[in-house]
């Protein structure tokens, strides 16, 4: 009985949270138009969300690509199909690893920072103070950050994939002796612009949307104490990771399911 009671209570709590999150989302989206006329606000946030995530994405992409080159080579050489290494590296990066891994890194690097920042602004009454100055904190603080995250994500994912493909090329062609021309031409023939590249970008846009939303909402909804903010930050990373992986499955099924 106790189990069902707590289950019911949890369900109710989830619903109210989802409701608050939806209201928050609507406010956040409504604020976008007022942010667009002040690009300075977005630029500032793109700096803290995008530019500061650049390095981790770049290095991770390079290493993931190099590992893919190595592993792919060992498997493909068993079948004498080393020439398709480029296809394997590019397809796995562009379709899956690029959007997913960069979104996970983004949630850890930028998402947690956003949650902590907003949570602390709430704890130190900055949001409340802004409201009393007749400035809507959702429009002034939340919307620019959302837009910056949403726009940065596909750029970071593309960077991740591009760097990864080059990393795979360095290992595959430079160290393991796969033919350079075959690496690129096979990749060229097999990777479809619409099916692979565009779908990858769509994925990263969805992940950027969901991750930034979760991060900002958790910060805004945080209990305004040190412990509350730390919990909210943890929730951001955990919930973002779950959402990214779950949505990735759904999106993949929708995009590549008919093939």
């Amino acid at each position: 009985m106790e189990f069902f009671r707590s289950l019911g209570a949890n369900t109710r709590e989830s619903f109210t949270k989802l409701g608050r999150g939806s209201y928050f989302l609507i406010g956040m989206l409504a604020g976008i138009s007022s942010v667009l006329v002040r690009p300075n606000l977005i630029l500032k946030q793109m700096h803290s969300v995008g530019v500061l995530s650049f390095l981790i994405i770049f290095i991770s992409g390079l290493f993931v690509g190099m590992v893919l080159g190595l592993q792919g080579f060992y498997i493909l050489s068993r079948f004498g199909a080393e020439e398709t290494l480029g296809v394997m590296v590019a397809a796995s990066l562009v379709r899956e690893l690029g959007p997913v891994v960069s979104a996970l890194l983004f949630a850890g690097r930028a998402g947690s920072a956003l949650t902590a920042e907003i949570g602390l602004m709430k704890a130190t009454e900055q949001l409340s103070g802004m409201e009393m100055m007749a400035i809507d904190p959702i429009k002034r603080i939340i919307s620019p950050r959302f837009l910056a995250g949403f726009l940065s994500m596909p750029l970071l994912a593309a960077l991740f994939s591009a760097v990864g493909i080059m990393g795979g090329q360095i290992v595959g062609c430079g160290l393991l002796g796969v033919d350079d021309g075959a690496y690129w031409s096979q990749m060229n023939a097999a990777i479809d612009f619409q099916k692979d590249i565009i779908n990858g970008v769509i994925k990263s846009l969805v992940f950027g949307f969901i991750t930034t939303w979760i991060a900002l909402f958790e910060g805004y909804d945080a209990v305004p104490t040190a412990e509350g903010v730390s919990r909210a930050t943890t929730r951001t990373v955990v919930n973002s990771a779950f959402s990214i992986l779950g949505l990735d499955f759904i999106l993949t099924a929708l995009m590549f399911g008919d093939n």
Binding site: L120, M121, T124, E125, Q126, S128, G129, M130, E131, M132, M133, A134, I135, D136, R140
Partner: protein, 296 residues
Amino acid sequence: MDNRGHHPNQNSLVSVHNLTFSRGEKKIFDNISLEFERGKITAIMGPSGTGKTTLLKLIGGQLFPQNGNIVVNGRDVHHLKRDELYTLRKRMGMLFQSGALLTGMNVYDNVAFPLREHTHLPESMIRSLVLMKLEAVGLRGARDLMPNELSGGMARRVALARAIALDPMMIMYDEPFTGQDPISMGALVLLIKSLNTTLGLTSIIVSHDVYETAAIADYIYVLSEGKVVGQGTPQEIKESSSEWVQQFMNGAADGPVHFHYPAKEEYMDDLLHCDKSLFSRKRLFGEKPAKRRRYS
């Protein structure tokens, strides 16, 4: 109906009528009525936890009461449209207990913030205004500091400069004196008084610092447990016959307000009822000194 504190006044900028507000089971305000006269400094006093900050948030329209209404400058705060409320708030300054400065920008930008958000003034004019406001609080020299480089008193003065940036008709001070050293406290007392007279502001001070508040307030309400227990000019309050007010003003540890938070059981009963294992030999005389230290 409890209408002790209600004297309708044509000269009021803010009127609180029969306000009831509760959080969960706890009634923070139980049908109270207050008047805040134009151009005067009115203080709300009472022990911590009486919801003084909540009252300011209610006046600012950030919280909604269960009952009653609040009229600011002839407008019912809780029946305004969002735009109208925001227009009204531009004319209401509020000084938060923590200052609530934006930590991401320096003192100058903090004071300029409401001007930049609400006006389209050229940067040169904003500069003049900001320097003027900073000069008024004596911190023109600190304009390049970041909020984390300021002392608590300075942060509050910067927040005050920001609150008056848009030339509001009133300012609400939330515990302006708490945690200040005597010098900053004196500076703030002086500032609040002089701003009130020079700018013709209406001030509402929420505080439990008896002497400082009584020194500058024109009228004082004393709240306790959601009710107005005393009101009047500082002189009247000091001479109040109410035991409660006397206890609060003199800071006596015991009186109508007991030193002890209400407990369900008598102290001795409570001690005896508690977990027996707490007093077991092992616990009291056990090998681990760390545990014993707790009871020494």
